[in-house]
Amino acid sequence: MKIETVVNGHKRIFDITPDELLADTLKRYDYTSVRKGCDTTSCGVCTILVDGSPVPSCAYLTARAEGKEITTVEGIAEEAERLAEHFGDEGADQCGFCNPGIALSVHALKLSRKSFTEENLRHYLVGHLCRCSGYQSQIKAIQRYLGDAK
């Protein structure tokens, strides 16, 4: 079947099977940033934005994306680059497998314009597992980034 969506601001027509998951479709259509770390919606690696909200694309049927706006990290390149600078300053970037997903959740948070304490932030990002960093450096980097963005 065919569905029409907007990905990173561009209209896309995806040719899919009804049971196909969005993570797989996006990968198939060369959005390389979309990767998977599990298959139980537990790790956050595959996070994308659907109409601005973070969603695990490994559990989202592509068919449901008809008419929706999808954002992958390729669509927020400049933001991601600036976040990466803060990650670099804090030494928060290690293997990076968790990073694009985090960048999207952080971007959604920024758009929401809510202010967050460190503790809120730790709870907000609880769906993003990271096995490398120990989290604290990431949290610091994200706080700096959100502070700058204001």
Binding site: T40, Q94, S133, G134
Partner: protein, 788 residues
């Protein structure tokens, strides 16, 4: 130390932006679109012989390209462990075999044009099993009637105590002086057994491989591996493909922690592509990663300590029983590290013994895991030290300070124990453990907080600590090499075999080269870990990279500098001694005439006595200077429920000079949190039939961002003369202290000693119950009158 511009400075990782922006980087990002998808049929039985396997129906399914069973592979035993050669692990594994030895062991694989077809085909493979009696309890493995490895042709590469008829993969024994005698003479002794669990690595990138045949008709493997050169060697040996026909490329790796220090899907992908001549790809599902890669070796450690009344530790006896699971990968070497990188912490003993067996069982294979046996040993020893302190009536810190290793000292263990073989004598040229302990005390507020404070009706806060050491590479065994190549316009390529698995080695190696050559890091373009294009390196394990690969890079940079000075002198018509090297330019000291690096390189490329400047240097350690660390934890614990939380984890680390302080901090903090996971929640569990219970992130809990409130990390000022710019390695040490520190903190809070990991509220409660029961029976209260 002379002033540095790049080393020990704030430098951002060289690859962080591209990764955050989602650019193609990891193994699967490079799989050809048309690649066949490989799926693996795995054993439902813990132990069985395959009587008959029929793949005809699966092969007949439209869309299936090939199905491979053990009949399709040469029968060459090998070890999946990526280690020095000859390997100290037994060759006890076949790519596919007619026996399966754990639930999840590979039986066959299907390569099809899409995932669904491959999965459907798996169900069409018919297998008849002769189910055998599995050995699941590692304490009953040795000499069990059920023999896990009875196949012919499996062997050890050199004597490691391999005795498969008894289910023993390896055994070890060493003794300094006479331990029994010294213990019997000791005024105070303690004795206790400790159990450590299987821990899963859970790198977020699953094990991934893809294979293709290139236009030169060579097999090209992309793999998320920690050891590309070992992968090439093992593939060649097992599949009988000449080494020169294989290229292994390691792209960005999404975490390793030891779990990728081995062959996993590579054998299957290589064979599929060799047979079909088509590209193939294999990404493990998360369940497969949990079920069929590696875990940490579970162990029982029996620890006996002896001391004089005034607190001099006189003897340590440590027996270990290690569970290597179905295959003996890293069996002996992990076990030896349990002794060799733990027991020298207390180097003033009169006698020390370390011995034990590493046994086969029918559970998933154990393998390399950050800390590599030292975590297990550290938990046992550092728990036992607190127990001894209590019996001596001493502060546990004072006991440590009196007995622990110090700068300039040694331990006989270094010479006796290496990894699989004898070790190397060495003195501690850099050891700031004493500072680490003192500074850690200050940072956690030990004086005020030890052992505990009441902070509410049911809540206590307490502190606990442990000290640790690790190593910096494997001396005389593992080599790293680096090539530096000058380009026109005066920038360089740095080609290293060293394997960046996310720890940032590409960045720190670039820093070392850039520092020596006096250029910015951006002028050092790094390419790593490609068996065709980069020089050799043993790989990312044993805390090797900073020290071993770093020294190789440093040597190469120094040689390049000499070559540049010679060329500049020739160009300026003076002697090399007359040249002042300034990195981006060369000055003739006599007349201040300057030649820029850019001009020199352009001339060398296009105009005068043209040549390519390129140098390759290699390094192997002649010792393995240990990094040291003191870890302190403050916990808040609920007396009623046994539930506790980490308030702060203080790490003070001596890893020599930190090449990149922020990345070094990342290594420590990542290690500490992984160690806290092991201490508090993580536990690979199997059911009575050998089936894995913890097969996903819902059942296997790793720490999340809200689980640990605060990490405090500092580095001691330290300089290791033999390291690049004074550095030692730092990849593993962070994981060592949390298990003992947590157990000690729980004891300091509630007076119960948890002797098996993880330290869970259930174990704490039942220990409390037992303790209170005893007290009631004797009509006693705890010594300080607390109502526990």
């Amino acid at each position: 130390m002379k002033k540095t511009k790049t080393v020990n400075q704030k430098v951002r990782s060289i690859d962080g932006k591209g990764i955050m922006m989602g650019r193609a980087a990891y193994t699967d990002d490079f799989a050809p679109k048309a690649a066949l998808v490989i799926k693996v049929l795995r054993s439902p039985h813990a132990f069985a012989r395959i009587k008959r396997i029929d793949k005809s129906k699966a092969e007949a399914l439209p869309g299936v390209e090939i199905v491979l069973t053990h009949e399709d592979f040469p029968r060459n035993p090998f070890t999946r462990a990526g280690q020095g050669y000859p390997e100290p692990s037994p060759h006890d594994k076949f790519a596919l075999d007619d026996h399966v030895r754990y639930v999840g062991d590979e039986i066959a694989c299907v390569a099809a044009h899409d995932e669904k077809t491959a999965e459907a085909a798996l169900k069409l493979i018919e297998v008849d099993y002769e189910v055998k009696e599995p050995v699941l309890d590692f304490e009953k493995a040795k000499g069990n009637e059920s023999v896990i490895h009875a196949e012919e042709s499996i062997h050890e590469m050199f004597p490691i105590g391999f005795d498969p008829e008894k289910n023993v993969a390896a055994a070890y024994h060493m003794e300094v002086d006479d331990v029994e005698k010294r213990l019997s003479e000791s005024e105070v002794t303690i004795e206790s057994s400790f159990y450590t669990q299987a821990q899963a690595h859970t790198a977020l990138e699953p094990h991934t491989v893809n294979a293709r045949i290139d236009y030169l008709n060579r097999l090209v493997i992309y793999s998320s591996t920690q050891t590309p050169f070992h992968v090439r060697r093992i593939l060649s040996q097992a599949l009988e493909i000449p080494l020169n026909r294989i290229r292994v490329i390691k792209p960005r790796v999404g975490g390793g922690f030891g779990g990728k220090q081995a062959i996993h899907g590579e054998m299957l992908a290589a064979m599929v592509t060799m047979k079909t001549k088509k590209p193939s790809r294999l990404t493990y599902t998360r369940k497969e990663v949990f079920e069929a890669t590696y875990s940490r070796h579970p162990m029982r450690i029996d620890m006996r300590l002896g001391a004089t009344k005034d607190g001099r530790i006189t003897a340590i006896d440590c027996y270990g029983l290690s569970d290597t699971g179905a295959y003996g990968e890293h069996a002996l070497t992990v076990f030896m590290v349990t002794g060799s990188k733990v027991l020298p912490l207390y180097n003033k003993v009169d006698a020390v013994r370390f011995h034990g067996d590493i046994v086969y069982t029918n559970r998933m294979s154990s393998g390399a895991f950050r800390g590599y046996g030292a975590v297990q040993g550290n938990y046992a020893l550092e728990s036992a030290i607190d127990m001894l302190a209590e019996k001596l009536g001493m502060d546990p810190l004072a006991l440590r300070q009196k007995n622990m290793i110090a700068e300039g000292e040694s331990s006989p263990i270094f010479e006796i124990m290496g990894e699989g073989t004898a070790g190397t004598a060495m003195n501690m040229e850099s050891c700031k453990l004493d500072y680490c302990v003192k500074r850690g005390m200050e940072l956690i507020g030990y004086k005020d907080k030890y052992p505990r404070q009441e902070i509410g009706k049911n809540k206590l806060r307490s502190v606990g600590m442990a000290i640790a050491m690790q190593g910096s590479g494997i001396p005389y065994i593992d080599m790293g090499a680096a090539t530096i190549k000058l380009n026109d316009d005066g920038f360089y390529n740095l080609l290293v075999g060293a394997t960046d698995i996310g720890q940032g080695s590409d960045t720190i190696l670039a820093q070392i080269a850039a520092e020596e050559l006096g250029v910015d890091v951006e002028k050092m373009v790094v390419y790593s870990s490609d068996t065709d294009l980069t020089p050799f390196d043993a790989g990312a394990y044993a805390s090797s990279t900073t020290y071993v690969s770093g020294n190789a890079v440093w040597k190469a940079a120094k040689t390049m500098k000499e070559r540049l000075i010679a060329e500049a002198a020739r160009s300026l018509g003076v002697e090399p001694e007359d040249i002042e090297f300034q990195g981006t330019s060369f000055k003739n000291k006599k007349d201040d005439e300057e030649l820029t690096l850019s001009d020199l390189s352009n001339t060398l490329f296009y105009n005068d006595d043209q040549k390519q400047l390129s140098v390759t240097e290699s390094y192997y350690g002649t010792k393995s200077p240990p990094p040291f660390m003191a870890g302190f934890v403050e916990i808040e614990i609920d007396k009623e429920t046994g539930e506790y939380e980490v308030i702060d984890y203080v790490s003070v680390v001596d890893c020599g000079v930190t090449i990149n302080p922020k990345l070094a901090q990342g290594q420590i903090e990542g290690g500490v949190v992984q160690g806290l996971g092991m201490a508090m929640t993580e536990d690979v569990k199997i059911a009575a039939n050998g089936k894995l219970i913890t097969a996903d992130f819902l059942n296997y809990k790793i720490p999340t961002g809200k689980d640990i409130r605060k990490l405090t990390t500092e580095f001691a000022e330290s300089y290791e003369k033999s390291g690049p710019y004074g550095a030692k390695s730092v990849g593993e040490i962070g994981i060592d202290t949390p298990p003992a520190a947590i157990a000690n903190a729980v004891y300091n809070a509630l007076g119960v000693r948890i002797k098996s990991l993880p330290v869970t509220p259930e174990k704490i409660l039942s220990a409390l119950k037992e303790k209170n029961g005893k007290h009631h029976m004797m009509g006693m209260r705890s010594h300080d009158g607390r109502n526990l």
